[in-house]
């Protein structure tokens, strides 16, 4: 399984870089889909089939379709770089390095030796996820759904001035 993990981990990182570096919005969106699908494969390798499939359905199949649809509707072509923010240009690289360092440190703290293995994989099937979601985490779940409902209502009000 290890070689598969490295292949898809590398693919995810390369595609993530491509999301940032591409100038054409559609290419960025497509790269992001590659990132999401590679992550799904990593979940699959960890034995979490349900999570992997849900990742593809929700992110790649629903959310990114909307992204691509909007890009198509706006017919956004290649972006021209603007020279507006000098601050961002000078601060970007150092901040990125700080963030990466922080991330590495966090991972290193948690898993000091390379041989550390994950504990016995918890049951990540639909039944277990459902039980957790509707028993232990029912309040956050419902709050999130209300949040989404509010967002939908807001979008409708914004789009339709007169109801």
């Amino acid at each position: 399984m290890a070689p598969l993990f490295y292949i898809f981990a590398a693919l995810a990182i390369l595609a993530a870089l491509s999301v940032v570096l591409q100038r054409t919005p559609v290419y960025s969106a497509l790269s992001l889909i590659v990132v999401l699908c590679s992550l799904a494969v990593v979940y699959l390798l960890l034995g979490a089939e349900f999570l992997a499939v849900i990742q593809v359905i929700i992110y790649a199949g629903a959310i990114m379709v909307l992204f691509v649809l909007v890009i198509m509707l706006l017919n956004a072509r290649q972006e021209t770089p603007t020279d507006r923010s000098r601050l961002a240009r000078w601060l970007g690289a150092p901040l990125l390095l700080v963030f990466l360092g922080e991330l590495l440190f966090a991972v290193w703290e948690r898993f000091p030796s390379a041989s550390t293995r994950a504990a016995a994989a918890p049951d990540a099937g639909p039944r277990a996820v459902g039980a957790l979601l509707f028993r232990s985490y029912v309040l956050p779940f419902e709050v999130t759904s209300i949040l989404i409902l509010v967002a939908v209502l807001g979008a409708v009000v914004l789009a339709k001035k007169r109801l």
């Binding site: 559609v26 349900f50 499939v53 790649a60 199949g61 909307l66 649809l69 198509m72 509707l73």
Partner: protein
Amino acid sequence: MATGSDMPLLLLAILAKVGVVLLVLLTTVAYAVWLERKVVARIQSRWGPYLVGPHGLLQPVADAVKIFFKEDIVPTEVDRIIYWLAPFLAFSLALLSISVIPFGESLTIGGATIHFQITDLNVGLLFVFAVTSLGVYGVALAGWSSNSKYPLLGGLRSSAQMISYELSLGLGVVGVVMLAGSLSLREIVEHQRGLWNVFVQPVGFLIYFTAAVAETNRVPFDLPEGESELVGGFHTEYSSFKFAMFFMAEYANIVTVSCLATLLFFGGWLGPVFGPSLLRGLLPIFWFCLKVFCFLFLYIWIRGTLPRFRYDQLMAFGWRFLLPLGLLNVLVTSLILAWRSV
């Protein structure tokens, strides 16, 4: 898990299985086209293909040869990478979902057990939906990358349509999943040993099948390519082999959807089994194929009978009728299940 010495043999068995399934699927696709031309011709009082081979049976071969040797025209203004990517994406995704479809029970010959399925994923049903939900990219990207008016409109329409009907497609089968208590296609079929799901979940079946016809962009929901208004829709600018890939993807999707309808609502491979042991092993596959064939025929029948929807009718039907009906079906099913378990 296989031991070390079994590994090459196991790999060979898997490869053989993949090869056989792909071969059968592609042949079915080719002859589904032939069947469609024949049946639609019957409906319209024509003969259909009859020159190449008896009853035109070799027509698919002739078509394949012809389409390979056609000139491949690439318009100058297209976005090259995505223009190439789109048909491959559509075609490979269409082939991918067949990998979790079980065709029958297992057969034991001389100590070796053959499962009639490439892989038995415990979330098989969701896997098919995941692959279907990615399928929209093939169409949308083809429309966008062609850089031309009609394909763009076709691509936009199809994205909107597929997103809208995906919801109903999912909601239609939730009832079946609740009844079986599993997302594994094999277990869902086994659960129907007493009574087929179509009798328990008739509304779910109607929702599923309607949404499936829309999801595969078929008449009466074939707005994305509606030739009377959009020339050829998203694949207007495609020719030769790349066009053939879209064409094959469409029919492969129809086969998958028919397989799924058979598995979820019509008991899959279940049916009367009798005779010697070999016949006992093979009859389930026969029942499965027969049921899938009936669905393919139904698809063609619908195409020959119904006119195309108008675009706003299509959207209104999906969101205002099919989706609420699906939600209601889920609600009623879960209430009955909860009441029974009390």
